[in-house]
Structures are given as C-alpha cells and as structure tokens.
C-alpha cells in the first residue's frame, strides 16, 4: 500500500470516527486547481465537485473512481491513480486533465467521506491492465529498436560536420560584431538576431540559437545594457571556444558542451540509467515564454544530497504544461540526471511515494548559498540559473523595491512585483523565514516562501 493511500484511508477513518473534515489527499484545493490546464477547466471543475453529481464512487489502494452524470445519457467515467497523479476519463475533451478529473479530485479533497473502499469495476481494471500492457510494450520496443549502428554513426558524423561549420561561421560573425562595436546594435531590428538564430538552427545547434534569441531584448533594456550584453556574448564565445577544442576537454565537460550547443539526449536511454533515489522536495516552479514555446522550470531539492535538480517541461502556447510535481510535496523518487560537468537537469525515473513537505532545509545564509552557486559555475560556466533555498531570511522594503537580509546582515535586492513584495512582507512580518529563489548571477527572483510549515508560491509561480 502506498503512503498516499495509507494517508487516504487513515484520514477517512479519522473522518468517520470523529466526523472531522479532513483532506482525502495531501493536496490543497489550490494545488489541485493548479493541475487544471487552464482557467476554464479550473472553473468548470469547481462546479463539478459536488457529491450529488457523482455516483458509484470507490477506491482501493491504488486508484479512485467515480461516474459523473453530465448532460448526456451515459455518465462519464473518471478514475485517478493518486500517485502521479494519472487521470483517466471517458469524456471527449481534448484538454487533459479534463474538468471531470480535476473536479473529482476536488470533491475527494473537500468531502472525503463520499469514497467507499471497494473492488475496482471492470472499466477501471481494464484501464489499469491496459496501462501495464502499454508500458511493457514500450519497453520491448525500446530494446528491439536498435537501429542500424552504421547508419547511426554516419548520421552522427554528418551532424558533427554541420555543427562545426555553423560554429565557425558564427564565430566570425561574433568577431565582426566586436570589431564594429556593440553601439550599433540598439538600432538593429529583432530580425537581426532572429536571422542569426535561424542559421544556427539550420546548423543543428539549437542551444546556441536559443542563447542568441535571448539577447535580442538586451539592447533596449536600459542602463548598463552593453555590459549585460557583453557578459552574454563572452559566455557564448567561451562555448564556441570550448567546442572548437572539445577533444582536449575532460569527458564530463565535453558532454556539457555538446548539450549546451544543442545535442539532445535520448530520454528513453536516460531512463535506462541508474537513478538517484532521495527525498526530492518540490521547491517551486516558474513558467516563462521562450520564443514560441512555454518553458516550465520545476526545482527539486534532494534532502540527502543537498543538491538541486531541474525538471524542464515544454509546451506550445495554449497547451497545458506537465504539472504532476506539486510544490510543497516531498517525493521519494529516483531521478536520472542529464550528463554534464554539473548535473542539474533531470527526469523522474520512478516515483515511490509522495507526502507533504515537512521542513525546508536550506543554506544558512546568503553567502553560503552564493558560494554553492559559485562552485557550480566553476564546473559549468554556462549555468543559466540555480535555485537557492535560504533560511533565516528577512524580506524588507528597500526604497521603492524589495530586498532580503540574512542572519549575517548581508543584503540582496529581489526581483519581484510590488504585489508579491507586499505578500512577502505580510507572510514574514519582518521575521526570519526560509525563501526559495532563482539566482541567475545578477538577480534573485523568489519562487516560494516557507512559513509556518507551508510552502507558499510567490509571484508568477503557479
């Protein structure tokens, strides 16, 4: 029996014994709502979370199910595997999880007593066995699909050559830029950068293209823009240099450079590797737009390892982002890290149990946190940003802006909207709290605040 379902059942017993309202899952309504792919689904889900709408509700150790009587004759069948969570619904909606799935979870959260322990009905059993069959089929396919190794090698050599040519051309473009001076860039249209990025995509170096696109907005970003741009260009130059003499580098740095340039990892192959099991705390997440893609960064923290992990999810605009990792939860899981000189990006290989986070272990002060960032930077100079959980932090107002002050009286400005700044102040009351923030070498952007045993998302983090 998983921890969740133990929790679920014990809570249900609690409820029946003392008639107290308790949560069926460890999620809050807010966290469940955050699972919805958009606001419409969230709104609809809220109105579905009423016992009168549901029938044949039940659960066992693994799965909960119910039937929703909508406007049609035949009720929709909804089932949820709480670990994950993984949803199944017979409704025709393209949005997943659908309003019935989210509404079902909300119902269980608000009125846990509606669930009776039972044997799963036929349709739930079918779904579960179907899932199992699919998983083993996929695994089989993976082992079978060893492509022609010769052709693969040929393709690899061809790509290597294309990237090398692309990098050489790009390096001379960069030199030319410095010869003419950055001053002229303020009058360049964004197509100036886009053209260059498109060439790099053609040369199969999407990692470089992404960095070039990210620079387009800097010339218009106000005072000190040329220093910021030079910093980015210099780091890009470092990457080109490293690639040009890649064979001289240590192996892990070679891998790092290739990932940075844009070689992708076969995630199925990664999944085959040995995972690192730990209690991974979900510290926070943030979604941003990058070009025509939504990127979501979810930061985890290994309790034993005292090391962070970054889960990246991508989705085209309007499409839901993966949202199974809920900030504020403690995940007993195996993670596989992408190779590289400072392994950070990871995928979840196996999830064992999930429970609410009980403490937030962090760095004792800002200096320690920044030292950890410094150490990471020496191993991977192309590190974009790193999550920093820091304890004993006092958020304060500083002029028109916001800052944090640590126990050693060090001060660091925060990049945060006024509304969220006031929320930090309201939550902390001028007392020390634990803060989770992203540090990119220049600015500190808060993701969440740990206060009174609860992880509260801050500013833009869902």
């Amino acid at each position: 029996m998983t921890k969740v379902s133990q929790l679920l059942l014990s809570r249900m017993e609690l409820r029946s014994e003392i008639g107290e309202v308790a949560t069926v899952t460890h999620w809050s309504a807010e966290q469940i709502i955050a699972l919805a792919p958009d606001g419409q689904v969230a709104k609809a889900a809220r109105s579905l979370a009423r016992p009168g709408k549901w029938q044949n509700l039940g659960c066992d150790e693994q799965v909960c199910w119910g039937e929703y009587q909508g406007s049609g004759k035949i009720p929709y069948r909804t089932a949820v595997i709480l670990e994950g969570p993984t949803f199944k619904c017979s409704c025709p909606s393209r949005k997943r999880p659908c309003k019935h799935s989210v509404g079902f979870l909300l119902l269980l959260q608000a009125e846990p007593h509606v669930l009776q322990k039972a044997d799963p009905p036929e349709w739930v059993r079918k779904w579960l066995t179907g899932r199992a069959a699919q998983a083993s089929k996929k695994a089989r396919k993976r082992t079978e699909s060893v492509a022609d190794p010769k052709a693969q090698a040929r393709r690899a050599v061809r790509r290597e050559k294309r990237v090398r040519q692309g990098v050489d051309v790009f390096a001379s473009w960069l030199e030319d830029l410095l010869r003419r001076g950055l001053g002229s860039l303020q009058s360049e249209p964004s197509s100036f950068w886009e053209t260059q990025a498109a060439r790099l995509v053609d040369a199969q170096a999407p990692g470089l293209a992404r960095r070039v696109l990210g620079m387009a907005s800097i010339p218009a970003s106000g005072d000190g823009w040329h220093e910021r741009l030079l910093g980015r260009l210099a780091r890009l130059h470092l990457l080109l240099e490293a690639f040009q003499r890649i064979d001289d580098l240590p192996l892990d740095l070679q891998e790092e450079v290739r990932i940075q340039i844009g070689w992708t990892q076969d995630q199925d192959a990664l999944r085959q590797r040995h995972g690192e099991r730990d209690h991974w705390l979900v510290l926070g997440r943030r979604a941003t737009e990058e070009g025509r893609l939504r990127v979501q960064r979810t930061w985890l923290w290994g309790v034993e390892r005292r090391q962070s992990a970054l889960i990246l999810d991508f989705a085209p605009p309007g499409q839901p982002l993966e949202s199974g990792l809920i900030p504020g939860t403690d995940l007993d899981a195996e993670l596989v890290f992408w190779p590289g000189s400072f392994p950070l990006r990871a995928l979840v290989k196996t999830r064992h149990t999930t429970c609410p986070m009980e403490t937030l272990p962090g760095y004792p002060d800002l200096v320690a946190a920044l030292a950890a960032y410094g150490a990471a930077l020496t191993r991977n100079p192309w590190l974009d940003r790193l999550v920093m959980p820091v304890e004993n932090i006092v958020p304060i107002r500083q002029g028109d802006g916001w800052a944090v002050r640590d126990a050693q009286d060090h001060l660091l400005p925060l990049t945060v909207s006024s509304d969220e700044g006031w929320r930090l102040l309201a939550l902390s009351g001028g007392h020390p709290v634990a803060l989770v923030a992203e540090w990119d070498g220049e600015t500190l952007a808060p993701l969440s605040l740990w206060v009174e045993g609860e992880l509260v998302p801050i500013g833009g983090a869902q």
Binding site: A29, L174, L178, A234
Partner: protein, 552 residues
C-alpha cells in the same frame, strides 16, 4: 571591476576604434589567468577576457552588508490563525468566481475570533480601500500583523492610522479631495461634532461638487446637533447641495424641515370617521408651490405621467415620519394602508388572487374575495399616498409601517411613477425590507409562498421583496422558496416571469442556509433550461457550507 568596465567600453566602441585595455589591475590570480589569454585577434582576446572576468566575478560574488537598521518586526499574533482550509476558501473567493459570498466568509471569520490569513492581506487591504461595504467587515479583523503591514503602505495606512490633531488642519486646508473625504469619514466616526465645524470654516471656497460630497459624509452619525449647519446649507446656491441637505434633514425626525412639512400637510390629509361603515381617508392636493417648499427640497416639475400638485404632495409625504399619521389618527399602519381602496384599474383578480389548492393537487374554484379590511371606497390619490409613505418609511426605518406597506404592495401593487422612478424598483426597497423584524418578514413571506406555490410566475412582487431580503434566510422561508421553484422549473414553457425567478437563484444562493444543500440537490427536473442556474446555485451553496464548516 574597472577592468570589466574598460572591456565593456571597448566592446561598445568596437575594437576597430578603441584599443584593447591591458587588464592587469584585478587580483593576482585572475591577472595570471588573463595573461594566458593569447588568441588570434583582439576581438577574441576581448571576449575571452570578458568571459573570464564575468565568471570570476559571479562565482566569487559576496552580497554587500546591509547598513540600514531593520524595521521593527510585527508583534506576535494576537489571534489564533485561520485554518488552512478556510484560507483556501478565501483564495477561491479572491481569485475565482465566488467573490459574492466573501461577505459571508468575513462574517463567519469574525464570529470564529480568528485572524485573516496573512498570505491574502494585500488583496484584502486593497479591497478595504476600494469597497466601503467590505471595509467595515475587514478592518475589525485585522490582527497585529495586518495593522503592522498596513502601517507601512501609503494607501493602506489611511485605513488604520488615526489623524493626528495637528495634521488635521493641514489635510483639511491643503489635502486632495480624496484625502479630505477620508478625513471627514474618520472624524465622523470619532468626533461627529467636529465635521460641521470644519465644513463651516472653508464652506465659501469649496466648489459645489465638493460641498455636496462633503455634506454626504454627515449621514453617518447624523443627529440634531447637525441641524443648525444643515439648515443654513438649505440656502446654498447649488441645487445639488440643497438636495443632499434636504435629504439629511428629512432623516432627522424632529428637524424644523420635518415640522414645516408636517404643518403643510396637516390641512391636506384627514381621516373621516363614520359611525357606520368604514372610515375614509380624505386627500386634497396642495394649492400652490411656494419658495419655502422649494427651500425644503420639494421639486416643482413633476416626472412625466404625474400631475404637478400630486408630485408636490408625494415629496412632502416622503419627508414626514409615517408614524406621524398612525399616531395622529390613532390607527395602525396596516389599517391605514388598507383604507386606501383599489389603486389600479381593475385587473382580472382571478389571476392575481392566491388560488387555493387541495392536498391532491386539484384547484379549488373559489372566486377572489377582497379582504374584509380593504375599503370598498377608493381613496383619491391613494397611490400617491402609498408611494410617499414607502419613501418616508425607508427614510425613517419604521418597522410596523414597513410591514404594512410591503403586504399592501405584494397584495395589490400601485403604480404612480414610471418604473424607473418608482420606489419599489429602487435600492431604497432594501431599507424597507430591512426595517421589518426578520421573523415577521419571513413568516409572512413563507405563508405567501405556500399559498402561491403553484403560481410563482404570477408573483412578481413577491420575488422583488425576496431579492431585497439580503440577510441569511431562515430554513422555512428557504424551503418554501425551493418548493415553489421546483414547480416553476417543471413548467414546460419558459416565460419572462420564470426567467426572472431562474436568474434570481444566483442571489438566493447567498442567503439560503447552506445546510439545506442536500435537500436542494433533489427535486429539480432532469434536464432543462434551469440546469445551468441550478448547478451554479448548488455550487455556491456547497461552497458556503464547506466555507462555514471550516470556520466552525
């Protein structure tokens, strides 16, 4: 750092125009690394040096020490924290579509003695600044943390910080219009007598719009002490100011304005007692319009559809406390309103009357019988009288009169003004409804609903009263409404009247006791035009039940 700035300067100008800086001033370690940067061409040397310096700087960054003393932290919480479930409900109300039930939540939180969840203080303080109806609910709930937070915010602090006596005159003499209004509201709560004094000081210099707005603040804590100032404001050159003033004076039961109006009315209204049969109300219209009447806020020009003299009468009756009449004539309000006979052109009373239903659902054929108490005699200008009394009753909050008028109206509505101007379609109606003791109001509404259970679509007046009954309802009223609605929802053809009841569900959901939700789930037709409204109604009820449970 200066090495870096030199590099950046060269990068800005371009290596074709500026020399590469020597880069030797940084620490020894980085200098030796920099000296190893030997590459082809100054551009690449510049980029390599910049990469090295930037990484070096970022990897070794130590935040500066904070010199400013830390602000005093918030004092310890003085109330138990709000349970996390309750905080989640609040989040839904602030972010989602449950905003209309926020008042109920705030009330329940106040009853529980717990504090507002700190996380949502910014939103709540913003609301308290923007909405005066929520302000009075939110402010008493602020705990030590809330007050500490608000004191640091330019706008929020006005909610909690009392005006210093020294600052008072400054704000009044030089402050913005909004600041001065805030000041008056504050003062009115703390020291009401000071407000007319303050107003007097600068009265001549204020523009008419401001004079009217400032005067309106007197409505809180209005008392006889305000009369001298108000009486003088009746001579103001602005019509708007005079109108506000006259309204305030009319709300003061013993004011001279009320007495003058009573004197004007006395010769116009009388109760003619008869030895046999019923008494009769005699109404004559005022003969002429006078400057004195104008000064007391009586408008000369009537709205379309009403005669001039009837209009003057109506306005005057609306000023005088209705108890004037019940006392002068020694008759109960219920009796008086029914002395006025038919106020409408005869309608088909068969439809209007409450049909009686047997237990088996068949209709008893009884013809409409007028109530015995209702006079068969038709009082002239009776509708003008009823309309004026209604306004006066709302103004003076007279419970007995309010009940009598509501019953009279629901039973036999009158029409004297166009529907935009009529009292019973105005917001003032909620004052009238609020004036009736809840138990009596609900007892009456419940019996009316039971009698008309099968024909709610013909009881538009009843719906109007229900919509203005904005307090948590008792269980029997709510059940009676539900039973009526079940019947209505089962009717095959939607009409404008059923549509009105259907959309009223959204309002009802805020006042129906949430414990009825299980009952309310059943009884509706399976699938109809009602489904969406019923869904929303039940969703709100569920939400309210959960919301109240988590604060219990």
């Amino acid at each position: 750092m200066s090495d870096w700035m030199d590099l950046a300067k060269t990068a800005l100008l371009g290596t074709s125009r500026a020399p590469l800086p020597p880069c030797s001033l940084s620490g020894a370690a980085i200098a030796s690394l920099l000296s190893q940067v030997v590459e082809r061409g100054p551009e690449r040397r510049l980029l390599s040096a910049a990469a090295l310096l930037k990484t070096w700087e970022q990897a070794g960054f130590v935040p500066p020490p904070g010199h400013a003393p830390l602000a005093e932290p918030a004092p310890p919480d003085d109330r138990p924290a709000c349970p996390s479930h309750a905080a989640q409900h609040l989040a839904q109300m602030l972010q989602g579509d449950m905003r209309p039930v926020l008042e109920g939540w705030l009330g329940a939180l106040a009853a529980s003695g717990r504090s507002l969840p700190h996380r949502w203080l910014p939103e709540l303080l913003d609301l308290a600044c923007q909405k005066s109806d929520l302000r009075s609910l939110i402010l008493p709930l602020l705990d030590a943390r809330g007050r500490w937070l608000a004191a640091q915010h330019e706008t929020w602090q006005k909610l909690i910080v009392p005006f210093e006596p020294e600052a008072l005159n400054d704000v009044w003499e030089t402050g913005s219009r909004q600041a001065r209004l805030t000041l008056l509201h504050h003062l009115r709560a703390a020291d009401p007598a000071q407000v007319p004094e303050l107003l007097n000081a600068t009265w001549g210099q204020e523009p008419a719009k401001d004079r009217a707005a400032f005067l309106a603040t007197l409505s809180t804590g209005l008392s006889a002490a305000d009369e001298p100032f108000l009486e003088s404001a009746l001579d103001d050159r602005s019509k708007q100011v005079r109108a506000v003033t006259a309204d305030l004076l009319a709300r003061l039961p013993g004011s001279q304005l009320v007495e003058r109006t009573q004197a004007r009315l006395r010769p116009l209204l009388s109760l003619e007692r008869r030895l046999l049969g019923q008494s009769r109300l005699q109404v004559s219209l005022p003969e002429a319009y006078s400057q004195e009447m104008a000064r007391d806020g009586i408008e000369e020009k009537p709205p379309s559809g009403l005669g001039q003299r009837a209009w003057w009468l109506l306005q005057m009756i609306a000023i005088v406390p209705p108890s004037t009449w019940s006392q002068a004539w020694g008759q109960s309000p219920g009796k008086l309103v029914n002395l006025i006979g038919e106020t409408n052109p005869p309608r088909n009373r068969e439809i209007k009357a409450a049909p009686m239903w047997r237990a088996d659902g068949t209709r008893m054929s009884i013809a409409y019988t007028p109530r015995e108490s209702r006079s068969s005699h038709k009082t002239e200008h009776g509708a003008v009288l009823l309309e004026g009394w209604s306004q006066a009753t709302a103004r003076h909050r007279d419970g007995e009169w309010a009940e009598a008028l509501l019953k009279r109206w629901a039973d036999n509505p009158w029409k004297v003004l166009s529907s935009q101007n009529a009292f019973f379609s105005s917001e003032g109606l909620s004052d009238l409804v609020l004036a009736v003791p809840q138990e009596r109001l609900e007892g009456w509404l419940t019996s009316l609903l039971r009698a008309q259970r099968r024909s709610l679509d013909e009881a538009g007046e009843l719906l109007t009263v229900l919509l203005h009954h904005r307090r948590p309802w008792g269980a029997s009223l709510a059940s009676a409404v539900l039973s009526g609605l079940y019947v209505l929802a089962a009717k095959p053809k939607p009409t404008p009247a059923t549509w009105r009841w259907r959309s009223a569900l959204d309002d009802f959901a805020r006042y129906v006791p949430p414990d009825l939700v299980d009952k309310a789930e059943k009884g509706w037709p399976a699938e109809s035009v009602w489904t969406k409204n019923v869904d929303r109604f039940l969703t709100i009820l569920h939400f309210r039940r959960a919301m109240l449970q988590s604060l219990r």
